[in-house]
């Protein structure tokens, strides 16, 4: 449900950077979204088409790079990727683990046309 607010932020940031670069048009946006950030790509795309209409970003394509959640065990040092459910360290079964990736939530770059 919060994808509308998220999409509005993406549009605002992309428009700012594009205006600063004196772009006539934004053609592609490259987003980096971690598995632990609860965002549905399709919803963002749906809102994007509506709210980018009539802006510098109209018609620009969204590209999502999804980063899997990764955890490192504090006891044995094993780093592992979450497939589905949260799991203990697969090597030593410790619950002393730390999330090291999967929370990314950023706009990395845009392609513009001058």
């Amino acid at each position: 449900m919060h994808e509308l607010a998220v999409t509005e932020s993406i549009l605002k940031i992309a428009t700012e950077y594009a205006s600063r670069a004196e772009a006539k048009q934004v053609t592609h946006l490259y987003l980096v979204i971690g598995q632990l950030s609860s965002i549905v790509d399709d919803s963002v795309r749906f809102y994007w088409d509506i709210i980018s209409h009539g802006t510098l970003c109209e018609g620009a394509q969204l590209h999502f790079e999804r980063i899997p959640a990764r955890l490192t065990c504090q006891d044995c040092g094993t780093t592992y990727t979450l497939v589905d459910e949260l799991t203990l360290c697969p090597h030593c079964q410790s619950d002393r683990v730390r999330v090291v990736a999967g929370e990314e939530f950023r706009l990395d770059s845009i392609d513009i046309g001058n």
Binding site: A23, S38, L107, S109, I112, N114
Partner: protein, 221 residues
């Protein structure tokens, strides 16, 4: 037309984060400790707030910001009836509070007269996690009847929190709920979070939560 790649590398909700920082500064200047309370609908947010008012109000003045998706004042009315100033935010269907809404609400509260501000977020385990408000402590309330698998299904909300409250522990004898499995999920996601098991109905465990909160209110003064 020439095309060109422009690096951005900006957090998508950075505008909200900046305003949340401003909210934090306003609270700090007034010496107010603020809590952002998040939970699914029915976990007991309002019950815990009323219980907290009952225990804290004799020692500290406080106020409440009530986030609701619809223009109903059921929760705000209960708070006001307990003698505590409450500001209602109607999000107009939005699933979360954001820093702008809280900033507006702060302007309608006597910040210099209170020591504690409790912000009751919209009942939802997904969206509020993404929007920082500027509170000093983020708290999630889970409740026994919701089931012990919530950290596994909604991991994001457990990541940035300072305390987790497991409410309705008086129902443990009647409901399938494995406290160890639940705590393990929370620990994987957030080993630092303080953990409280309590029942707003029987008062069991409430004292430890109030002690934790009282220590933080005093530190903020």
């Amino acid at each position: 037309m020439t095309t060109q790649r422009v690096p951005v590398v900006e957090k998508i909700l950075s505008a909200n984060d900046q305003l949340a920082d401003q909210n934090r500064r306003r609270l700090d200047e007034a010496g107010v400790f603020a809590l952002n309370i998040m939970a699914s609908p029915g976990a007991g947010k309002t019950s815990l707030i009323l219980k907290t008012i009952e225990k804290i109000a004799p020692f500290h003045r406080l106020a409440v910001i009530e986030g609701d998706t619809a223009p109903v004042t059921i929760d705000a009315d209960k708070i006001t009836a307990a003698g505590v100033p409450a500001v209602q935010i109607n999000t107009g269907g939005d699933c979360h509070l954001d820093a702008v809404m809280v900033s507006n609400a702060l302007s309608n509260l006597p910040l210099n007269e209170i020591a504690l501000l409790i912000i009751e977020n919209v009942g939802n385990l997904i969206c509020p996690a993404a929007f920082r408000l500027g509170a000093h402590a983020n708290v999630v309330i889970a409740s026994v009847p919701e089931g012990d698998d919530k950290p596994y299904k909604y991991p994001n909300i457990y990541r940035g929190i300072d305390a987790l409250i497991l409410n309705k522990i008086d129902l443990l004898p009647y409901v399938q709920f494995n406290p160890d499995y639940f705590r393990q999920g929370v620990k994987i996601l957030n080993p630092q979070a303080a953990f409280f098991s309590l029942s707003c109905k029987t008062d069991e465990g409430v004292g430890e939560w109030i002690d934790w909160l009282s220590a933080r209110i005093k530190r903020a003064r």
